[in-house]
Amino acid sequence: MAFKGKVLICQGTSGVSGGAHIVSEALKQKLHESGLSDRYEIKRVGDRGLFRDVLIDIISPNGYRWTYERVSVEDVDEIVESHLIRGEPVKRLLAGDDYRMFFEGQLRWVLKNCGEIDPEDIEDYISVGGYEALRKALHEMTPEDVINEIAASGLRGRGGAGFPTGVKWRICRGYEAPTRYVICNADEGDPGAFMDRSVLEGDPHSVIEGLIIAGYAIGASKGFIYCRAEYPLAIRRLKIALQQARDKGFIGKDILGSGFSFDIVLKEGAGAFVCGEETALIASIEGRRGMPRARPPFPAEKGLWGMPTVINNVETLANVPRIIVNGAGWFSSVGTDGSKGTKVFALAGKVKNTGLVEVPMGVTLRQLVFGPGGGMARKGYAFKAVQIGGPSGGCLPEELLDTPIDYESLTQAGAIMGSGGLIVLDEGTCMVDVAKFFLSFTVAESCGKCIPCRVGLVRLYEVLDRITKGEGVEGDIEFLELLGSAIRETALCGLGKTAPNPVLTTVRYFRGEYEAHIKDRRCPAGVCVPLLRFEVDEGKCIKCGRCARVCPVGAIAWERGSFPIIDRSKCIKCRACIIECPEHAIN
């Protein structure tokens, strides 16, 4: 029998929002009409990491592969007729240099299957070696062997703090208890991070397999996956995957005849950022408010319902099966001294290519932003900073772009690895506003249990708010530094301890911008509305009229060849004109 060709359609949240399921239906119908249904099979795959709306791969029966990007339903006929029937690929839709650049220099271990296999079909996962690691662990390794292998690999937690995974497992197993639990933390709350969502949507079985192996290693009877409710597609695919794994006997009693029994329960989070903190997450699973408690005792000693509990993040667990199959030496051959393996980053913001990038630990920020990221998105707007680590992280300026990405180097620079959110900022971003943004987030998400976080963050926010309104006073910057350091040292949990980081790093690296707001009553980036005058700088204006076209309330009058005139009485200060202006001529 001849091999069938394949048409892969990316259908994660990104693909679906671009209309992937409609394109998929249209393709199916067109293949059928053209009598090609038995020569090409349509396959649903997860998102590959690059946001290109609908991405389609055509793999010919003899194994050649073409990638089409931004495919819309109108393009389907042409692709089938030209490419599949006449053998002439549709050049205008083929993925271009950006696409190639995005994937070059990546080392895709965790994301290997994302965009390649059908996340709703366990057979597809098995066909690429899935559940081999589980078989190997259960049949050829003792739980201690598994722990030793993971410890030797140097794998550290990918959720933020970077605690060595093998050590965590060993500590947990060391406590005598009637039972133990293992939890997959899929409460990806960091605004700016979306790798866990993509892995759960694109390759859920790798996480489930990692969780079962973790359960075996620590001697747990039950595992939990705590997933954000904001990820409906991930939850749906996890449910399907769990059911399939159960049907196949990978979850349940006496797994693969090993005598080891293990069940997994899916828990939906209810929208609380603090639940990413492990003791808060435990409280939430127990049905209470998600409030952290003081540690020690750490969950590895006293966790869920008082039992020793290991909590690992999605990306950490997805690494586990690969380490078991390929060995600790394979994993630790990549990375730096203290940080082994790869890390997935969620590249977003004002960069050309946005999406998930997986690179070896130790590459520099510059390599990331100007390699796969493709550099800055907007002409005329230069690089300003990169925000790494979400609300717990910091903003690093251009001088630090050559910082290698590993746990220690980032911490030293004042940021953290965090879960790997990486937002690129350009000249059109106000750093005071960014700091205020993160504070407004942590203020809203503070659980209110400890005073430094509950009260201190509000005080920080108030000062930042005043500064962005042009009401800053002498001494504000020093106050921010003093209070920020105090909160960092005294808050109860990770949320509070790291919440001042965005403020402290922006003060440290962009002090001049704070001073411009306070002393000159000016927002250099043109973001802080109360400091804007909405005036056209006729020295810069090129009379292109784009501002008038984007104004939603018709407040800008413009005629060809003349300067635009802004009618203040109509203006709603939405900044659409400022964002649109190619010359930074409105301020």
């Binding site: 209810a270 913001g349 943004f437």
Partner: protein, 167 residues
Amino acid sequence: MVKEAFDIDALIERHGRERSSLIPLLQEIQSELGYVPKEAIKAVARELDIFEVEVYEVLTFYAQFRLTPRGKHVIKVCLGTACHVMGGQDIFNYVSQVLGVSAGETTKDGTFTLERVACLGCCGMAPVVAIDDQVHGRQTISKVEKLLREHAANDVGKGEHVTKDAK
């Protein structure tokens, strides 16, 4: 007595009476009714043998839960980091101004509920707006205006509506 709009017995049957069933119970009630009514708080407290205030504290702690009914269409404007730097706040302000409601409120005619969310995890398509859980990426004020008009005019159903990114 007015019949309750939810079947507490069936819910308990599915989720059990453990304390850890509290959040799943409330989630299911909300997914059926769009919010958690007072009667549900009473019923759940009774069945789990906990105080009503314990149900209430959980309801008000988590951002997901609503104590009031929502509009026909729920607009979530993402204000995550990527969306923020790409102009998400401007979009939120605009929608809020046009609809005359602030975060968490519903328009008087019951058509729209406006919500701000911390991150929808679609940062590569920032700024993002989700209407009835359908995600729309790379929004601008004029695109959002169009979305609002379409949803106000036709009763656009779940999942049928898809925008294309401007190329």
